[in-house]
Amino acid sequence: MTQERNLSIPGGLTGALLGLAAELALEEITGMEVVSGLLAVIGAGFGLIRIDRRIYEATVNLVKRVPVEPTSDYRDVIQQIDEMSIELPELRENFVKLIRAGMEAQRA
């Protein structure tokens, strides 16, 4: 015996619309951004659990945000990173690992 599933598209749309209306009404009344607040809680929780991944992402972001002149090539960027990471041994080690991994990925 097969169980028949009844999916209603108008029903789904109505539900979504009601949810949105409720969210907006709550935001208007309480002044609280419910969805973004909830995402912040989830994000913070996730970040606390996966702090190592978060640190790794921040390291990658740091490299990405090193300002690059239009005339400079990768050696200039490496030199700049080298100069800026003096007295920062652990970070320098991570940068070296990242650069090595990037070069190996390019070779492969």
Binding site: M32, V34, G37, L38, V41, L48, L62, M84, E90, N94
Partner: protein, 141 residues
Amino acid sequence: MVGLNSLFKLFRKTFAPKFEGRGFLPRRYYLYRALEALDEDDIDEAVRMITLAGLDKKKSARWRLVCQQVIFRCRILVSVHEKQMDQINTELEIFGKTEDLRNLYLRLQEVERKARDILKNYELQLLEQLSESTASVAQPS
């Protein structure tokens, strides 16, 4: 769900400033907040959070790494401000013929200098904390 959000907001608005400022919360929380601030280039907040995360005598490897990340970003931003100061200097020599323009360039230069000095101050502050943590690693008590 709404209840959880309200509780979180209430916590952030009422208790968090008291707890956050005293360093009662888990160290990971402060590191997470420091990384968040670093992503937004809010160096002041990142330094505050790093300082709170490093209130323990024994600082973790994670703390050292995040601290170094903030120092690195400070140095990058300092170099950006210095380049802008050079640019302003060049333009001042070329276009600063009238008194008004000259004053405008000088004011811009002053803003850049202040920003650079604030960042350098943060860098020194963090380097000091970092060297303290190195010293505590070198001399186990």
